[in-house]
Amino acid sequence: MICSIIVRNKGSFRHIAAFGLLILLIANILETYGKDFFHVNTMQLLQFDRFGFLFNSIALGATLIYVLLTGKEIEKSGKYAAEYFTLIFFVLCGIFILSAYDNLLMLFLGIEIMSIPLYILTGSDKRNLKSNEAALKYFLMGAFSTGLMLMGIALMYGGTGTFQLEVQRISVGMYKGVSFLEITGLLFLMVAMAFKVSAAPFHFWTPDVYDGAPAVFTSFMATIVKAAAFVAFIKLCDVRMTATLGAIDWKLLFALIIVFTLLIGNITAVFQQSVKRMLAYSSIAQAGFMLFALFNVNDVAKEGLLLYTAAYSLATIGIFAILVKMKDYTFEGYNGLAKTQPVLAATNTVFLLSLAGIPLTAGFFAKYYMLAAVVKTGSYIWLVVVGVLFAAVSVYYYFRVIQAMYFRNGNAATETITFSFKTGLIILAAIIILIGILPQVLLNWFYF
């Protein structure tokens, strides 16, 4: 199916990469509407459904925009430009597995195929000590969480005797229904996934890694990869955790994680001096909002997660695209950007407003769907209140950037901005506003 590994041995530049992504995107959309290109018997390891296809489309679209906007920086960030694009394709391959897995083996392989290229991308700036440090930290944390995940999978296998996501629970012998081993395994697995999506209290690697990695790759890591981990997580919740709800109170557990994540992400983001680091913390905060979808998996939550993925990825890619053009990553570096580069400042404002969840941008409806999913459960209304409060806190640090751009005097130094880059940003901002006004454009695919 769509999990096509694109092998590029040499001389692949961003145009080829963008072209390949475009082809994949078109193929994926056609496949969503029932065109079967070639059929592979996946032995019930993978299962392709509409949700997965739609997510793949969003991931591919976002990556396409990402490559178009920041392709030049990717080439500049090291000597081996072709390899970076290839690694991005490997990551995408892992993402496609994650959006379609039906077996814990595939979950494991998908996560690993996604993570291992990322370790390399993080450390791609070989001379820079910060990049090295981020890579090592990311690698050790990632490998550790892989170990936890594998332990979880092994225990779940011991408890149920199968790796399939869907378990036929037969009460034979002493192992009736849900066993102790399975619950322990699920807890391990949950911790490992919380590592991957950087939910508190397993978030501590995120700011360092996002700060140390070259900004272009941080942009990719913080958006598409994180969303893919969420898709894997929601699938796990959907099947396994709902089935074991009688044995352990997942809802309370998730409620605690959500509150903790929102608290840490938002409060620490307020105190940051560097915009890049602020974005790292804000991505933790946004992960807190995405966790609302896992709290109670229903159709609203799934739709909301897709919308959130689109809104958050597009906005963050835009912000990072502007960030890598800046000479100075601190808030002061943005002073007076509106005077020197009005287009950049205006589009950046749209992206930041979208992240903050102001109406008329995509972020508003994304947050709305997330909260609606919780309201639908009928209980835990206090969680919605907490969510709204922290959304209000987040407005503060997003507006600091806007304030620096428009109301402070200064000379924001940027690298040379080409006309096509500006056009790309304007199109991206237009897409975000379009989704904000008509979210159904995107979500109609879901109902079809």
């Binding site: 291992i116 070989k126 440090e133 090592l136 050790l140 170990g147 594998l150 296998y157």
Partner: protein
Amino acid sequence: MPIQYYIALASALFCIGVVGVLTRRNAIIIFMCIELMLNAVNLLLVAFSKMPFNIAETGASNASAGADAQLFVFFIMVVAAAEVSVGLAIIVMMYRNVHSVDINFLNRLKN
């Protein structure tokens, strides 16, 4: 031998690995501890694949009953090898720059 022995052994190995990761300061040793965790999982999977309750549970008493777990072990080995290659490369890269593999050096990003 009952399955509990295997579970106990695997959890002991796994815990040694976790404690090692959390307390040691040398990147290579942390790395070895992670490998220890993976191998504990391998052991556990193989044990589960052959244990009688598992076969009774799935209702399949043929010889291939636990084959998927054994397959999984191979996948873990392959992925661990891939991780080793990337991880050691990163550690070497680090060593070239700071001439140490002590992770206490990793605090430049803190502020």
